[in-house]
Amino acid sequence: MDKKGFSNIFFVFLFVIAFVFYIAPIYLKLGSEPVADGIIGESALDLINSYDTVNDFKSYLDKSVELASCQALYDQGKNGGYLDNKCGKEKDYAKWDTNCNPLASLEEDYGEYFSRELEKHIDFKPNYAYSFNNGNFLGKTDDKIEKTSENTKYYVNPSFSIKPRLDLNVYRDIAKRLNDNVVCFSNKDPRDCVKDDNWKMRKEGKLVFFDIENGAECVVREGTRFLDKKINLKFFRDFTKEDLLNIEPSNLLK
């Protein structure tokens, strides 16, 4: 073999060596099977992110429940505690008397007000069973809401519990104070009967109109406007003889 032929072969050989040298890592990299798709920890992050999706949903639900609860208390108070007032109305005040008042169905009516409001904030319709327990208002359901985060499906139970800003027993306390002072209300200025700055009272004949203010404050919808308002209980009572006849004698003697 002459020198030129030898150097040509040498260079060709050099190219082949270089090529093999360069291509080998690529071949090894592409030929190796990955342990898992993506990288280690990616699935764990997906799972954690799915928890976040559930948390976001729950925080949204909690806030919706708060808003619905406030509006329900406000609307119920404005309507004298009734859902459907069957006892009569005077000047936009619902009537209370001994035999016709909202006390027996306060919790049930609050649940109805609440349910109507909550539906405005949520786009699902779980079959809630409402109840009160130790002053907390509970919405329980066995329904599950499906939430999807990337490829992970999660089923959330939208049950909730909230402490309403106003204890509904306030209505019963008010009724008791009225019954205790029924003779006083029928004869005297109502401000002499109950000395409480939160009780705004106006007497017109035998009718006494009550606006009882509570510390609880909410942002509520009033028609098309939104207002930051205190929850007021608004009703009137007729202290005529017919009503007095229904009062227990022990209260009349006070």
Binding site: A18, Y22, I26, I39, N49, K63, L67, H121, F226
Partner: protein, 168 residues
């Protein structure tokens, strides 16, 4: 003694071979770069996911922390509470100023009628390393209010410095 033409031919061959080797090296460097970039993207995606989670926690703490920002935001859509919202969010964004990572932060409240942007407006696409976390709040007026916490680097230099130094 030496064949001049032979020497010239060999020198030319040597130059051609050297150039050839340079070209092959360049081509393979490019291939390695592409393969490496795919892997780096995967790594960066995972880092970003972890950082988004941190941002989620930040947003959650911001909204449901002691200052009741979520309530102020919900009420701010229907009542004149802009001053309250402004001062609360200013306090929150002040915490992120001059951070070690040199990231920019922005808080966006998407009211349907009047969207509000606090901090640097990071909506343009040119901000590198942009990550965001969003959370929905119920609205008294519309369907919902969306609140977003967005973070990005001011320049590519800051972005590469951050990932180069921390994860390179």
């Amino acid at each position: 003694m030496f064949n001049k033409k032979g020497i010239e031919a060999n020198v030319i061959l040597l130059i051609v071979v050297t150039l050839g080797l340079f070209i092959i090296t360049g081509v393979f460097a490019l291939v390695y770069g592409v393969l490496g970039a795919v892997e780096d993207d995967l790594k960066l995606n995972a880092y970003s996911s972890a950082e988004i989670r941190t941002l989620d926690n930040e947003l959650y703490a911001t909204l449901f922390g002691s200052n009741n920002l979520a309530d102020i935001i919900i009420q701010g859509e229907v009542l004149d509470r802009k001053t309250n919202i402004d001062s609360e969010i200013e306090k929150i964004l002040a915490r992120y100023k001059d951070n070690k990572d040199k990231r920019l932060y922005s808080l966006v409240i998407n009211y349907k009628d009047k969207p509000l942007v606090y901090g640097e407006d990071l909506s343009p696409d040119f901000y590198p390393g942009k990550i965001e976390s969003s959370l929905r709040l119920p609205s008294l007026k519309n369907d919902f209010i969306e609140v977003k916490l967005i973070s990005a680097f001011p320049t590519s230099f800051h972005y590469y410095m951050y990932y180069g130094v921390n994860y390179g």
